[in-house]
């Protein structure tokens, strides 16, 4: 590859950010090394483990296999953008409540894949959850508790959507 440079602009967690990137640079590299958002993890770096999952224009993608250039002008959501320590996203809370985290390395990718699912399908079946999470590997927790956490979060998200709990901050 050549060392061509490009200027790209992302709508990153709601904020417009511009970056100077190299032609072959990955979106993951931009997020971690240029934007300082280290939530998305570099696992296999080949698109197999899902640890680098972020949401690009509403869809879960492996950011290690997305050319940063091709993300120009698009919306990117990372784990840093969906909740905070004081106000975690229902998925973050459910993962903690269900004990769906051990080492935590896969967790940001798991949560972003799950969020992409719940954003388009607030009432997924177990099979739909398994299908949506099939691109994410966990080597310590196993998958039962992760499934449970997503089911718990789905109930909370659905109750927000139905206005039972009021708006989340």
């Amino acid at each position: 590859m050549t060392d061509k440079q490009y200027q790209i602009t992302l709508k990153l967690n709601g904020q417009t950010r511009s970056f100077e990137v190299e032609e072959g640079e990955t979106l993951l590299h931009v997020l971690r090394e240029r934007a300082g958002l280290t939530g998305a993890k570099k696992g296999c770096d080949l698109g197999e483990c899902g640890a680098c999952t972020v949401i690009l224009d509403g869809r879960a993608v492996n950011s290690c296999c997305v050319f940063a250039v091709s993300a120009d002008g698009k919306q990117v959501e990372t784990i840093e953008g969906i909740g905070s320590e004081e106000h975690p996203h229902p998925l973050q809370q459910a993962f903690m409540d269900a004990g769906a985290i051990q080492c935590g390395f896969c967790t940001p990718g798991m949560i972003m894949a799950a969020k992409a699912l719940l954003d388009r399908n607030p009432h997924p079946t177990r099979e739909e959850v398994r299908q949506a999470m099939s691109g994410n590997l966990c080597r310590c927790t196993g998958y039962e508790k992760i499934e449970q956490a997503i089911a718990m979060a789905a109930e909370v998200v659905a109750s927000y959507a139905e206005g039972k709990e009021g708006d989340r901050a």
């Binding site: 698109g47 492996n62 296999c65």
Partner: protein
Amino acid sequence: MLAKTMEEILRAEHPTYIGGGTDIMPLLKNHVRNDQDLVFVSEVPDLHGIEEKEGYLYLGAGERLYDISVNDLVKEKWPAIAQAAGATASPQIRNIATVGGNIMQDRRCIYFNQSRYWRSGLPLCFKTGGKVCLQIPNSPVCRAIYYSDVATALMLYEAEAECVENGQRSWVPVAELIARHSQANGLACSQHLPVLVVRFRAPVPPEGERSGFYKYAMRATIDFPLINFALRCGGSRPARVVAGAVAPEPVVLEETAHMLENSQAADEEILACCEGELKKLAKPIKEACISPALKRGLYQYLSFLLPLRKGNG
């Protein structure tokens, strides 16, 4: 270059066209490829659209695999294409990978889909600029396997691809495109075909035809197929069976299809025929999780599509 129009795409001098980029990215990271002029084409409107028109399904090469897998029109009339698109890789990959990129994907081999460090202890193979196939050292060509799932389905429906090559735009059978691509793809990337795929078309199947796709992999998502099949039968045109992940290009099983035409033939006879035909046509090599001997045992997995003979499946 992030192209927005066909004119921009065609301006590149030594282009490597990138759809979603999920196939080429690991190869670039591992220095298996060293492409110089990346042209990102997935934003170009000419490469988009899924529609039925004048007796054909038209499928833009820039359409994402996920969108194809859930498209009602494709699911209803060309189910093998939707099933193959939905069976490819993981949800994250399907969300960004394009059908054009899937057809023009690189072949794979345990000897070059490795890091540069891993490969440094071996001679260069055809794919990495050398003069030997490390799988079959006396082979005059690269023997890596072509693993596309969607290709098997497109070949089932005798699809064509609209391509631009050297400024000329023309329709070619997908089987022919893959054969040429696969041959060039077994060489270093400077030798690859400078072909841009714009869209695909497949004729509308006749009334009463049934078709489907089956994939077997170690893990249902993530892994490439160990074998895949697509089968059609029951309509006014001849039955057809295609198998993939068994050779440098998908293979058409003509004898098996001929036997499918015989409603008196037992499933066991069809499977025996399939097995015999694949033993002649397949070119198994050492793969990451299966030996050639074990792979031959998968030739019977056409059985998963045989319920289509009776309108099931």
